[in-house]
Every structure is written in structure tokens, then in C-alpha cells.
């Protein structure tokens, strides 16, 4: 069953095409990632699906409903973690959850929601005293209150520390396992790779790669760079590299493993890999690859 259906959807703000004819589908119980840099149109896409904005053209369907026309019905079955939304700064975390429970039919118990978001120790803290990452977690707790069938997460882990990120990923995976459909936006490549069953890459309001292509691109965007040892040619190396000036660059899904292979090759020959740099993929690398492959 298709939970989210987006076809040729467009949205303009004045002269600016925020979303320019995007199409994708998300199956029930699937985690789908919209990957893109800031300003790519990811938030607009989520706001269109959540019924905050009306598209200028194209079709949006969430659980078979039109989010702009049947907003109330869509809202009852969806949870939204907005990228930008305020809280009442003087209420505590627990008070905020209680008030939101009041707005929700058949809500989760307060403690369960706080537990899911890892906020139990902060229950008595005023919202204005929370860190950015803690606010994101409160946001998540509120989005999960109504046990939604579809969950929209706009940059869910931005500002979280590594542990909170991992916990959030676990929560999202668990929810998907229980049948919740998740659409998330992110500019973290690893987040999309770890969580999503499928993904689409957005740039300037358009989907520039999706499905298998996007996954392949994401998978080979790890990078190992080093200065080519004197007297060696790129072909001598155990892995394929490209030359950027004097620097040899190796793209790989697992850059740590690639670096180990290269280092042991160099050690056997008594060579040194000067200026060695190992980086996991970033979105910038991916876009670089994309523009290269377009040429």
C-alpha cells in the first residue's frame, strides 16, 4: 500500500520555485529520506504534505487523502516534527507534553512519550532552558503522542549530540518496524543511509536523483586523500584513484577500510602516504559527484 504519493508537485513563493515538479512514493511502513542542502525545498515538501501550504500544481496524497483539503483528517493520523516551531518558553517539558496530550485523541501516556524521546530527566525543566538538541527531542515526543500512522520528520537530529542521534534513530526504526510510515528530511548523508529504505536527493526544488541511483551515489561518496608518493603512478595503487593536482583521491563506500588497504600497501613497500585524510561522505561530496556525472 502507498502511504504517501507525490506527483509533479510545484510550489512558488513569488519568483522563487521552492518545489519544482517533484514526484515520489512512500510505501506503508517504509522510511523514506529526502536528502538535500539548505534551501533545496525539503521543508516546503513536508509542509505541503502536512497541509500547511497548498501546492500550486500537482497531486499530494497522504493515506489517500488530500492534505490541503482534508487537513483535519490527515492531521489526526500524522505526526509532524517541524524544523521550525515554537514552544511556550515558560512551561516545563512535562507541562508541555500534558497540554499537547489534551489536543490529541487517545494520546500516549506522558511518561511513555518522555521515555521514547529520552527526556525523562528533563521533565521538570522549563522549555527555555533546554538545549537545541533537547528541544528537538521534545519536538519528537510531541510528534509521537498520537501514535501516528505517518510521521513527518524535518531534520530530526539537527543539534543533537551523537548519543541522542543514535537513540532517535533507534526510535524511528522501532516505529517503522511497528508499521509507521516515516518521511524524513536530512542533510546528513549517514542519517539517510542508516535509516532510510529508499531516498531521493533534492536540489533547487527538484529531485536530482532517486531510488537506486541516489543510494549508489550516497554509497561511494566516502573519500580518502593523500599525496601520491614520489615515483608511484596511480595505476600502482591497489584501489582506483583520481588525481586532483598532486593529491590522489579514492572514493569508497567505506573510507576507513579503503585507508587501511592503502596504508598496508604503502607499508609493504616502505612508502609514506603524506597528508592522509579520511572522510566519510558529506552531501557536498555527493553533489560534486552529481555534477561530475552530469558533465
Amino acid at each position: 500500500m502507498t502511504a504517501i504519493h507525490v506527483e509533479e508537485v510545484r510550489k512558488r513563493y513569488g519568483d522563487f520555485a521552492a518545489v519544482n515538479g517533484i514526484s515520489f512514493e512512500v510505501a506503508e511502513g517504509e522510511i523514506f529520506a529526502l536528502l538535500g542542502r539548505n534551501g533545496a525545498g525539503k521543508t516546503t515538501a513536508i509542509e505541503l504534505l502536512a497541509g500547511f501550504q497548498q501546492p500550486d500544481g500537482g497531486t499530494c496524497r497522504v493515506l489517500g487523502l488530500d492534505p490541503a483539503r482534508d487537513r483535519a483528517a490527515v492531521r489526526r493520523r500524522t505526526g509532524i516534527m517541524l524544523q521550525e516551531a515554537g514552544f511556550f518558553p515558560d512551561l516545563t517539558v512535562a507541562q508541555t507534553v500534558d497540554i499537547w496530550r489534551d489536543f490529541t485523541a487517545a494520546p500516549r501516556p506522558r511518561d511513555e512519550a518522555l521515555e521514547l524521546a529520552g527526556l525523562v530527566p528533563k521533565a521538570g525543566t522549563r522549555v527555555r532552558q533546554l538545549s537545541g538538541g533537547e528541544r528537538r527531542r521534545l519536538d519528537l515526543a510531541l510528534a509521537l503522542l498520537g501514535r501516528p500512522d505517518v510521521l513527518f520528520l524535518d531534520e530530526p537530529t539537527t543539534g543533537m549530540d551523537p548519543e541522542a542521534r543514535r537513540n532517535t534513530w533507534d526510535v524511528i526504526r522501532d516505529l517503522a518496524r511497528q508499521g509507521t510510515t516515516v518521511l524524513l528530511t536530512t542533510h546528513y548523508l549517514d542519517e539517510a543511509q542508516r535509516l532510510a529504505a529508499s531516498m531521493a536527493i533534492m536540489d533547487r526544488g527538484e529531485i536530482v536523483a532517486s531510488g537506486g541511483i541516489a543510494e549508489t551515489l550516497a554509497a561511494r561518496s566516502g573519500r580518502v586523500a593523500f599525496r601520491l608518493p614520489p615515483g608511484t603512478a596511480p595505476d600502482d595503487l591497489p584501489l582506483p584513484v583520481t588525481l586532483e593536482g598532486e593529491t590522489a583521491v579514492c572514493r569508497a563506500a567505506d573510507p576507513d577500510l579503503a585507508a587501511q588497504t592503502l596504508l598496508s600497501w604503502a607499508a609493504e613497500r616502505g612508502l609514506r602516504l603524506a597528508g592522509l585524510e579520511v572522510r566519510t561522505a558529506t552531501l557536498e561530496d555527493l553533489f560534486l559527484d552529481l555534477s561530475r556525472s552530469a558533465r
Binding site: R75, I80, A85, G86, F87, I99, D102, F103, A143
Partner: protein
């Protein structure tokens, strides 16, 4: 869920916001009780003057406690993106706004009634001759002014300007009802006729005369104006710059 939830939330936030309480409770209640008490003791025809003034003071409570409070509170919540978050819940837009209007109107009615009791005790102002008309005018007036306050947020560019933007409404309503002394008599007659069209003037007129038809018509027209303006222009988020 629904109306009662937003009603409870509005009420809780009304009494929790200490800074706003000064402007929307302490000041109007102080004026509404203080001035009639003063008039009772310093003027020759004390009770009559206090009664006249006390009825006019309803305009101050309506324009501050109902109109200004809801306009400032909703502008703040709009700009803090709290309204946007409320819309992300299962609540409908209508439930969010009508719960808020009902809550603000309730606080306004409570304060007007409390002031009426206070001036009765402290300035011998008699209780209204027709309690039913009195209650109807106060309740309808509070609801209409709170609705207009919600609609008015559309012209408030940002939070810092909210209180200042609502001040003219307060001043004009108070002058119209004679709550600011005899300023009104110094104005040309046509200005007086225009001032009589204000919803606050209609409520004060009903309180003073017990008349029902004209004030009811006036408030109905303003209610429609408020609801239509909300439908057309109410903004749930700050303008994207």
C-alpha cells in the same frame, strides 16, 4: 481534546503571563474601580456620576482585557511559531481560535462583573436594573471584542509593536464611552456619531439604557466583520521575509 483544550490553555496562559497581567488586568480593573470611587467622593452628585463613569469603564475592560490581550498574545504566539505548532496537532484552525476567543471573553466577563460588585460596595453604584440585558451585553461584547482582537493581529507586523498598535483602539473606545472625562463633548458632533458605531459604545449604551435592539445589531455586524477578516487575513506564521 478540541475546544475545551484550547480554552483551558488560553486561560492558563492568560493568568501565567505576569507582564501582560499588568496591562490587561491590573490597569483596567484599577481604573474601573478607582475612578468611579473617586467620582463618588469628590463630585456633588456622587452616586450618579460614579454610575455613569462605571458603565463607561466597561469600554476600557473590553478594549484592554479582551481586545488588546488577545491581539498581543496571538501575535506573540504567531511570531514564536507556537501557532504553527498548534496547527500541527489534531486541532482544527477553528478550534484553536474559538477556544482562545472563548477563554479571553470569559476572563473579561469575570473582571467586568467583579468591577460591578466592587463599585457597588465602594461607591454605592446600584446593580443593573435589568441583569439579563446587562449579562447579554457584557458576554456578547466580550466575545465580539476578543474576535476583533484576533482579526486585528493581521495588521500587527511583529510582537514588539503589538501593544502599541492596539493602543489607539483603547484610547478611541474610552473617549467614545466617556471614560476619559468630557473629551468627547469637545469633539464635533459627527465624530461623536462615528464613535457611537464602535462595538464598545454599543455595549456601554446597552448598559446605560437597557436597550437591546440597536446594540445587538451593532455587535452582530462587528462579529461578522471580525469573522470575515479572520478568514481573509489571519496569519498563522510570521511573514517570510
Amino acid at each position: 481534546m478540541s475546544y475545551t483544550a484550547t480554552y483551558r490553555l488560553g486561560t492558563r496562559l492568560f493568568w501565567q503571563d505576569r507582564a501582560m497581567l499588568l496591562a490587561s488586568v491590573v490597569t483596567p480593573v484599577g481604573l474601573s474601580v478607582g475612578l468611579p470611587v473617586l467620582a463618588r467622593h469628590v463630585t456633588a452628585d456622587g452616586v450618579a456620576a460614579a454610575t455613569q463613569l462605571s458603565q463607561g469603564m466597561a469600554s476600557i475592560l473590553l478594549s484592554l482585557t479582551a481586545f488588546m490581550n488577545v491581539a498581543v498574545a496571538l501575535t506573540t504566539r504567531r511570531d514564536q511559531l507556537v501557532l504553527k505548532r498548534l496547527r500541527a496537532t489534531g486541532l482544527t484552525d477553528g478550534q484553536i481560535l474559538s477556544g482562545q476567543i472563548a477563554s479571553t471573553a470569559t476572563q473579561t466577563v469575570i473582571l467586568i462583573v467583579l468591577c460591578a460588585v466592587a463599585v457597588n460596595l465602594l461607591a454605592d453604584v446600584p446593580f443593573p436594573a435589568n441583569p439579563l440585558v446587562y449579562a447579554g451585553a457584557v458576554v456578547a461584547g466580550s466575545v465580539v471584542l476578543a474576535t476583533l482582537g484576533v482579526a486585528y493581529t493581521a495588521v500587527i507586523p511583529r510582537t514588539e509593536l503589538a501593544a502599541a498598535t492596539t493602543m489607539p483602539v483603547f484610547v478611541v473606545s474610552a473617549i467614545a464611552a466617556g471614560a476619559m472625562g468630557p473629551i468627547r463633548e469637545a469633539l464635533p458632533a459627527w465624530v461623536g456619531s462615528v464613535l457611537d458605531l464602535l462595538p464598545t459604545s454599543a455595549v456601554v449604551h446597552a448598559l446605560r439604557t437597557g436597550e437591546v435592539a440597536l446594540p445587538a445589531l451593532n455587535l452582530a455586524v462587528w462579529a461578522v466583520v471580525g469573522v470575515v477578516a479572520i478568514r481573509l487575513w489571519f496569519r498563522w506564521e510570521p511573514r517570510r521575509s
